[in-house]
Amino acid sequence: MKSYLMGAVSSVAILVSGAAVAGPEAEVLHWWTSGGEAKSVAVLQEEFAARGGTWTDMPVAGGGGDAAMTALRARVLSGNAPTAVQLKGPAIQEWYEEGVLADISDVAEAQGWADVLPASIAGHMKCEGTWCAAPVNVHRVDWIWANAEVLKANGIEMPTTWDEFNAAAEKLQAAGIIPLAHGGQAWQDATVFEAVALGILGPDGFRKAFVDLDKATLTSDKMVAVFDQMRTMRGFVDSNFSGRDWNLATAMVMNGEAAFQIMGDWAKGEFLAAGKVPGEDFLCLSVPGDGFLYNVDSFAMFDVDGADKIAGQELLAELIVGQNFQKVFNLNKGSIPARTDVSLDDFDSCANLSADDMAASSANGSLLPSYAHGMALRGAQSGAITDVVTAHFNSDMSSADAVKMLADAVANSM
C-alpha cells in the first residue's frame, strides 16, 4: 500500500513537471534596455505570458548592439542559439548564409504578413524566399527637426530644397543662432550625409549608390555635389560639435540654441519627453527631396530544437507582428508600425505624416533602406562608406578627393 502510494505521488510529480516544461518557450536576445524601449519589450513579454509562454529574457546592453552581437556569435558557435535575436537589415541574410536561421513561413502565411507589410520592408524579412524574421517598427531617418519659435522669430519657413535650407541657415547664422545642431560622431555624420544624398541623387540614384554600390553613381558629378553640400553644412554647425551625443544636439534645438537637426524619429522621443508639442513647439518635415529612408528593427528567428521552443518561436513571431504589440510598442518608441493596417489615431502628427509618406513612397518605389543605420549594406561596406564621409566632414578634403576615396573604399571592402 505504501509503495503504491509512493508510486502514485511520484507519477503525479512527473505529470506536473511535464506540464511545466510543455508550452511555448522563447529565449530572446535584445539590447532594448533603456527607459521607453525596456517598457516596450515588457509589453511583448506580458502578451507572451498571457498565451501560456515562458519567456527567458537575455538583454545585452552596450555598444549599440556590438556587445549583443558578440554574445550571439559565442552562442551560435557553441551550437546553442537563442530563439529570437534583435537583428536588422542585411545582417539577417548574413546570418542566414551561416545556415543558422529558422523558417517561419507557416506563421507569416497564416497571418498574411505579405498583405500588411510594405513590399520593400517584407523583403528584409525573407531569406531566399522563406520568412526568417519579424519586423517590429519603422523609424524614418530623413527628418529635419526644427524649433518653431526660432524659425518664426527669424521669418523662416521649413526648407523644401537644399538651397532654401542653405539660405535659411545663413540668415540664422547672421542672427547669432547655430543653424544645424549636430554631433560629430561617425554615425551622425553618416545620417546627415544620407539625407543630403537622398535629396541630391534622388531615390533612384540613392538606390544605385547605396544599395547596388554602382560605381558610376558613386563617382558621378552628383556625388561630388553631395559632398559639396556636406562641406557647406560643416559651416553651419558650431565649433564644439565633435563627439557630442545626438540627444544633446536635440536639446540644443529644444532650448533655441540651434534651429535645425537632421536625425531619425527617435529625436521625437526627446522632444515629447520634455513636454514639447509637435507642430507648436517643434516642427518635423522630411528632408528636401523625394523618398523615405527607413530603419526597421526586427527579430530574426534562429534554428532551435524541441517542440516547445519551436512553438515559442511561432507564437513570438505572431505576437510581434500582431496589431496590439505594433501599436503599443511604437507609441512608446516614437516610430510607426511596420504593418500598414494599424489605426494611427493615438499617434502624433509627425508619426501620421511618416505613415502617409511611407504608403506613398511604397507605392512609387521610393521607399528606401537607410545605409547609415545598417539597412542597405553589410557592415563592412557601410562602414567603409562612413569612414570616407566622416573623414571628409572632419577635414578640409576636397569633394573630388572624397568621391575618389569613396569608390576605392567600397572596392576595398568587398
Binding site: 556590438d66 552581437m69 560622431q185 561617425a186 563627439g243 553589410r378 563592412a380
Partner: protein
C-alpha cells in the same frame, strides 16, 4: 617514488600554467594568424585565401591613419613621459622635506583607470566647457585651445592625457633607480669638486641604464595596446583622426563583422610589439650567457 616526486614536482606545478599559456597565448596567436589568411566575415572560416586581408588592410586610409597615430603617439608619449619622469625624480631626490606627500601626488594618476583619465581630460579640453571656456570667461575672448576637436591636433590630446597618467609612475621607477646608485661614488665625485649636473650626466644616469630599459618596455607596451584612453577621450574622432590600431581592430571585429580584417590588423600589431620586445629579450638572454 619520493625521488621521482622530488625531481618532477617543479615540472608538475608549472605544467598547468605552461599548458594554459601554450593554448591561450600561442594557440590563439596561431589561430589569429590562420584566420587572417581567410575571408572570414561574421564568423570565422578556415579556407586559406592568401594575403587578401593584408592587401585590404594596407589599402585602407583609415589603417594608415591608425599606424601613423601609433608612431606619433608612441614616440611622443614614451620620450616625454621618460624625460618628465626623470626630471621629477631628480627634483624629488634633492632631500626635500615633503617628498613622501609629493611622491604620492605624482604617483596617484596611475591609480586611475584610463577611462577616468580620458573622461576627465575630455571635459577639461572641451572648448565649450573646459579650459578654453574658462580662459574666455576671464576676459581673453580670443583665446583658443581646440585641439580636442581639431582633427590635426586631436592625437596630441591623447598624448597629453597619457603622459599625465604615466609620468608619475616613470618618476617612481627612476627614483628607485637614483636611490640604488652607490652613494660612495657620488661622495667621491663631490670631494673631487665635480658640479652636480656632471655627477648626474656622467655617473648617475649612465648607471641607471637597466631602469631606462624597463621604463621603455613598460611605456611601449602601454602605447601599443592603448584603447580605452582613446575611446573615452575622443572616441577615435574627429572623424577617425585619433584611431589607433587597437581601436581599428575593435571596429572591424565587433562593429563591422569583418573578422579577417581584424585578425590581420592584430597580426601587424603583434609584429610591432615583436620588433620592440625581441631585441630586448635577445640582449637579456645574451647578458645571462656572458
Amino acid at each position: 617514488m619520493t625521488k621521482w616526486l622530488e625531481e618532477n614536482t617543479p615540472k608538475l606545478v608549472l605544467a598547468p600554467s605552461f599548458l594554459a599559456v601554450l593554448v591561450f597565448v600561442y594557440g590563439f596567436i596561431a589561430w589569429t594568424a590562420w584566420v587572417s589568411l581567410t575571408r572570414s566575415r561574421l564568423l570565422p572560416k578556415y579556407e586559406i585565401e592568401g594575403f587578401i586581408q593584408y592587401e585590404r588592410l594596407f589599402a585602407s586610409p583609415r589603417w594608415d591613419t591608425a599606424i601613423n597615430n601609433l608612431f606619433v603617439f608612441g614616440i611622443l608619449f614614451i620620450v616625454i613621459a621618460m624625460v618628465l619622469g626623470l626630471v621629477l625624480a631628480i627634483l624629488l631626490d634633492q632631500n626635500i622635506r615633503t617628498e613622501g606627500a609629493l611622491r604620492t601626488i605624482y604617483l596617484y594618476p596611475m591609480a586611475l583607470s584610463m577611462i577616468v583619465t580620458g573622461t576627465a581630460w575630455k571635459w577639461i579640453l572641451n572648448p565649450g566647457l573646459g579650459l578654453e571656456a574658462m580662459v574666455r570667461r576671464w576676459g581673453f575672448e580670443e583665446f583658443t585651445f581646440d585641439w580636442l576637436v581639431n582633427p590635426d591636433m586631436a592625437i596630441y590630446t591623447v598624448v597629453l592625457a597619457a603622459i599625465w597618467q604615466s609620468s608619475g609612475f616613470v618618476m617612481a621607477l627612476f627614483l628607485a633607480g637614483l636611490r640604488s646608485v652607490d652613494g660612495e661614488i657620488i661622495k667621491a665625485a663631490q670631494v673631487d669638486g665635480i658640479p652636480t649636473w656632471r655627477v648626474y650626466t656622467a655617473i648617475i644616469i649612465p648607471s641607471m641604464a637597466p631602469i631606462f630599459l624597463s621604463a621603455f618596455i613598460v611605456l611601449a607596451h602601454l602605447a601599443i595596446k592603448s584603447f580605452d584612453l582613446v575611446i573615452a577621450l575622443t572616441g577615435g574622432g574627429p572623424g577617425y583622426a585619433t584611431d589607433l590600431p587597437a581601436t581599428y581592430m575593435y571596429a572591424m571585429a565587433f562593429s563591422r563583422g569583418d573578422i579577417g580584417q581584424a585578425a590581420s590588423s592584430a597580426m601587424i600589431m603583434m609584429m610591432v610589439v615583436f620588433t620592440i620586445v625581441v631585441p630586448y629579450l635577445y640582449s637579456e638572454l645574451r647578458s645571462k650567457d656572458d
